[in-house]
């Protein structure tokens, strides 16, 4: 049976059954790969663009991680002298008369805001879905490239531009925007209310508009590529789950991100053109504003109409990759393939009608909340189904434990922990107590922050050979996994207790209140654990960059024995992905351990010994 899946047979299959699109007879595309600039900077090749997204994402994750260390220092060790940070942070570290340095509250809030914005948008949206949609959509579908390589390139450069603007805003003398990643007005509109709401907010808005453009350009491309450029035989129901999730994610992004842009534009109008969409009866700095008659709550509706789908934009691609990695490494089909697809579609649909669960305590009519509670808790059902399916995929599998599959298992563990706390928050009655406390911080960091990062790590370790032709170091990968798993739980688990004790989020200091001031030890512990998380990420960064040049060379075209098409391309990546014909697809993506074989690749026609199996 082994000859079925040997390199030579697979190659022969591509040649015999492949589809000839005469791609390599036309050389007009080659000029775009002719020099350094066109190959590595303004590249049109989806594989290069994917790596650009990834490395930019890693850069931003590093910055945002450093920021979290700064504000965790403040929370864990508020009494310590921070004067040593002055060389880096300048006036944001204030000195008392005795020369004891303290991080200023303005700066604390600016760091929290930047941390949230950068991670949600730049790292977990662009860095995650940008990287892997770009890398895998053409490779797994059997396409030469994206539908529009030009738009694809622009998508990256708009992201880059947005990032550049945000980065520059860090150096403003009035400080970067500091009103929280949710940017609720009136705080975000009025420079009188917060110094970060001056130039900082202008640059924040501009940056996000660029980002929205990037998401839309990318999304249109992903959708049209998936709909139009699938190779022969690749029906929708034969697509790997990765592609399904990228597909649904792109649709969700396309429908929701423009709403964020519109909210940002309205904020801009209020700030600069004297309109009052979000301003009403405000008296600030001893002065009654002439702008009045709007509603700050309207902004929250617009923001969360994006904001909630956004959290699924982040997590769905991670879910897709985890499904794929778990299946490959369990040597078993993903359990309930169709149920997985349907639950992704259901989650995506529902994610558009639950946004006001972020607004139970915002002053909206409590009657309206009834609907949002119902829809929100319905979302828990497809989420639970997915969890059961992942666990069932391991059941009776033959599970290879490597960094990729362990991060996938870690993902499932995190998704369970964080998803279950969503059931508390989604019930408005409980949310009265939990809203805007550390319980929410614990919830979303575990279910979205850590879980999405785990999905991303799984993807990076798994597809690293497809990006760089080498493997990452296994031992360092294992150290990275266990270190992160343990210290990430150590950071976020105790936050549940803070939240249940009533401690509000976004507090610069807890010592003003007796109620919130009993947790010094816990806050120290969390800060130390946060430093540990950061250190373990340095192990990853080291491994990542070291392996690009010195990692173990990929020797087998299909190192994991995977069924999907990306492993039929040559080790040395080329323009157009396949040197000759494009493989055609004969079966679904999950024929692992079927009828005594190890795996049956997607481009292998049905064999005589195979049983008929309905999935």
């Amino acid at each position: 049976m082994t000859e079925l899946t040997s390199n030579a047979t697979e190659e022969k299959l591509v040649q015999e059954l492949g589809y000839d699109d005469h791609f390599h007879e036309h050389h007009d595309g080659d000029k775009f790969q002719s020099n350094f600039i066109t190959t590595y900077v303004f590249s049109l090749d989806h594989k290069v663009i994917a790596r650009q997204f990834l490395i930019t994402g890693i850069f931003w994750a590093f910055i945002a991680g450093l920021m979290s260390l700064v504000f965790r220092l403040q929370l864990g060790f508020p009494e310590e002298d921070m004067a040593w940070l002055r060389p880096f942070l300048g006036k944001w570290v204030t000195l008392s008369e005795e020369g004891v340095g303290a991080i200023s509250p303005e700066f604390y809030y600016a760091m929290v805001t930047m941390h949230g914005t950068i991670l949600v948008f730049f790292v977990l949206t662009a860095g995650l879905s940008g990287t892997f949609s770009n890398l895998l959509i053409p490779l797994q579908l059997g396409a030469r490239d994206m539908a529009s390589p030009l738009l694809n390139m622009l998508s990256y450069w708009f992201f880059f531009l947005g990032g550049l603007i945000m980065f520059l805003s860090l150096f403003l003398s009035t400080g970067p925007f500091s009103g929280g990643w949710t940017a609720y007005p009136p705080l975000s509109i009025l420079p009188q209310a917060s110094s970060g709401s001056g130039a900082g907010m202008t640059m924040w808005s501009l940056s996000l508009v660029m980002f929205v453009v990037s998401v839309l350009l990318g999304g249109i491309n992903y959708i049209s590529t998936i709909l139009n450029l699938r190779t022969k035989g690749m029906t929708l129901w034969r697509m790997p789950l990765t592609i399904w999730t990228f597909f649904i994610t792109a649709i969700v992004g396309l429908l929701s991100f423009p709403v964020l842009a519109s909210a940002v534009f309205l904020v801009f109008f209020d700030r600069s053109l004297g309109t009052s969409f979000f301003l009403n009866e405000i008296n600030i700095g001893g002065e009654a504003l002439a702008q009045s008659g709007g509603s700050p709550i309207l902004f929250q509706h617009l923001f969360w109409f994006l904001g909630h789908p956004e959290v699924y934009i982040i997590i769905l691609p991670a879910m897709g990759m985890v499904s794929e990695v778990l299946s490959v490494n369990s040597r078993k089909p993903i359990f309930g393939y169709k149920a997985m697809v349907f639950s992704v579609v259901a989650i995506a649909f529902l994610s558009f009608i639950v946004w006001a669960h972020h607004m139970f305590m915002s002053g909206v009519n409590p009657f309206i909340s009834n609907f949002f509670v119902v829809f929100t808790l319905i979302i828990a059902v497809p989420s639970a189904v997915k969890v059961f399916n992942w666990i069932a995929t391991l059941y009776k599998g033959n599970v290879r434990l490597n960094a990729a599959s362990m991060f996938s298992i870690g993902f499932v563990s995190m998704f369970i922990s964080g998803g279950l706390t969503g059931i508390f928050l989604g019930n408005s009655a409980i949310d009265i107590q939990m809203h805007d406390t550390y319980f929410v911080v614990a919830h979303f960091h575990i279910v979205m922050g850590v879980a999405a990062f785990f999905g991303m790590f799984a993807g990076i370790y798994h597809w690293y050979p497809k990006m760089f032709g080498r493997h990452m170091n296994k031992l360092l990968g294992n150290i990275h996994f266990w270190g992160t798993m343990i210290s990430a739980y150590a950071v976020f688990w105790p936050m549940h207790y803070l939240g249940i004790a009533g401690v509000p989020r976004r507090y610069y200091s807890f010592d003003v209140f007796q109620t919130f001031d009993h947790f010094d030890d816990m806050n120290k512990f969390i800060t130390i654990a946060a430093f540990a998380v950061f250190l373990f990420q340095l192990v990853f960064v080291l491994n990542f960059f070291y392996s690009i040049w010195f990692g173990k060379k990929q020797t087998k075209k299909n190192p994991y024995g995977a069924t999907t098409l990306e492993w039929t391309t040559p080790i040395e990546a080329i323009h157009g992905n396949w040197p000759g014909k494009i493989p055609t697809v004969q079966r679904w993506a999950y024929d692992y351990s079927k009828d005594g074989t190890d795996y049956l690749p997607q481009h292998l026609p049905k064999q005589d010994f195979e049983s008929d199996e309905v999935h």
Binding site: G286, K396, F424, Q514, T515, D598
Partner: protein, 383 residues
């Protein structure tokens, strides 16, 4: 200097890690890939099995350790009537999710260990199972329905406004950068009209003095409420969003400029009673301020606190007000001592007091005024 050392340490650590990584790869190529893979799998699967109990024990033990600090546990039974219902829904949800948490985490890590890779084995080709899938879709659906119904019944009760004509005391809390301002209605039981344009340093709420309901309103520095009496807080904001948050009462509501919101609740435990409850627990026998051995213990120093729970700027973390729940008599005695803002700050001040001219001539014309009023009255009656 310290920084240089830290960076150096990191660099050295990095080099060591790279070397370790390299050695592991070298050793791998000597021992042969299969061997390495088998060993790697068996080590990692053991770690999975080890992680599971440590993780679960860690979760449970830390929860027990902090139990008596958490609202709804130990001494922290809700101090408001509606809070009890909310706590009970919390507990139900906790039990349900706790069971799911244990079962799924156990299955996950156990399977990762149990079905570890073995070259001689084959995985079972199980692609789906309709019955199983229907069951595990239906069970969460039914559970969710149960939780939703309980939750919504409580929610609609808690959030309901007071009924028309219901006897209820209304006070106002206005959020501003960075403090809560408080207003009580005074003897008439009515909060007077406000106008945000009239806000000034002498008139922090922008009360419209032409509305006589304002004249007896007073601005205390603490919320003091009689136990067992329903209160409706009118929640407003002067500048940006704030959130009226009293954790011990399970009360939380945004303060929105230009759109008064409300929260209705009934305090059920006086501050003193709450202190006595805390006294029962050793956690609260520590010093409130560890640096001050002569100071009060935690239970003695306890007060209910009003906080802000919506980011409102750099002083967001500091908007503290004490909330005191007292017996009826004590409350009345406290009321006695409060002065109306109008009387103490506005009355008789030229330019501030719209009744200023009236108050000068008041003495002489008092009789006249009463007379005209009487006349008016009789006119009204004759119509």
């Amino acid at each position: 200097m310290v920084l240089v050392i830290v960076i150096l340490c990191l660099v050295v650590l990095g080099i060591i890690l790279v070397q370790i990584g390299k050695i592991s790869e070298l050793a791998g190529s000597i021992r042969g890939e299969e061997d390495v893979e088998r060993q790697g799998n068996s080590t990692q699967s053991k770690l999975m099995l080890l992680f599971l109990p440590l993780f679960l024990i860690g979760c449970i033990a830390s929860g027990l350790y902090y139990k008596n600090y958490m609202l709804g546990y130990g001494p922290h039974e809700s101090a408001s009537e509606h809070g009890l219902a909310l706590d009970s829904i919390f507990h139900t949800t906790f039990v349900v999710t706790g069971v799911v948490f244990l079962l799924t985490q156990i299955a996950l890590f156990y399977f990762a260990w149990k079905y570890k890779f073995d070259r001689k084995k084959r995985a079972s080709f199980i692609s789906h199972d309709n019955t199983l899938e229907i069951v595990w879709t239906a069970i969460p659906a039914i559970t969710m329905a149960f939780l939703v119904i309980n939750g919504l019944v409580a929610w609609n009760e808690v959030m309901a406004d007071v009924d028309e004509g219901e006897e209820v005391m209304e006070i106002e809390a206005m959020g501003q950068q960075f403090a809560w301002l408080l207003r009580y209605p005074g003897a008439d039981g009515k909060l007077g009209e406000r106008d945000y344009r009239a806000i000034s340093s002498t008139n922090p709420f922008g009360q419209v003095w032409e509305d006589r309901a304002n004249l007896d309103d007073f601005h205390p520095s603490e919320i003091v409420l009689p136990v067992g009496k329903k209160v409706r807080v009118r929640i407003t904001a002067k500048d940006v969003l704030h959130n009226f948050d009293i954790p011990h009462f399970r009360v939380k509501m945004d303060a929105v400029p230009g759109m008064p919101t409300y929260f209705v609740f009934t305090p059920t435990i006086t501050t003193e009673e709450y202190r006595q409850r805390l006294k029962e627990y050793p956690e609260y026998h520590e010093l409130e301020d560890p640096t001050d051995p002569a100071g009060p213990k935690m239970w003695e120093a306890f007060d209910y606190e009003l906080a802000c729970a919506e980011l409102c700027g750099k002083g967001h973390y500091s908007m503290r007000r004490v909330v005191k729940i007292v017996e009826e008599e004590e409350y009345l005695a406290w009321l006695e001592k409060q002065n109306a803002h109008y009387t103490s700050q506005i009355k008789g001040k030229e330019g501030l007091d719209p009744y200023y001219s009236a108050s000068i001539v008041k003495e002489e014309t008092q009789a006249l005024v009463t007379e005209t009023e009487n006349e008016k009255h009789s006119e009204d009656h004759s119509h």
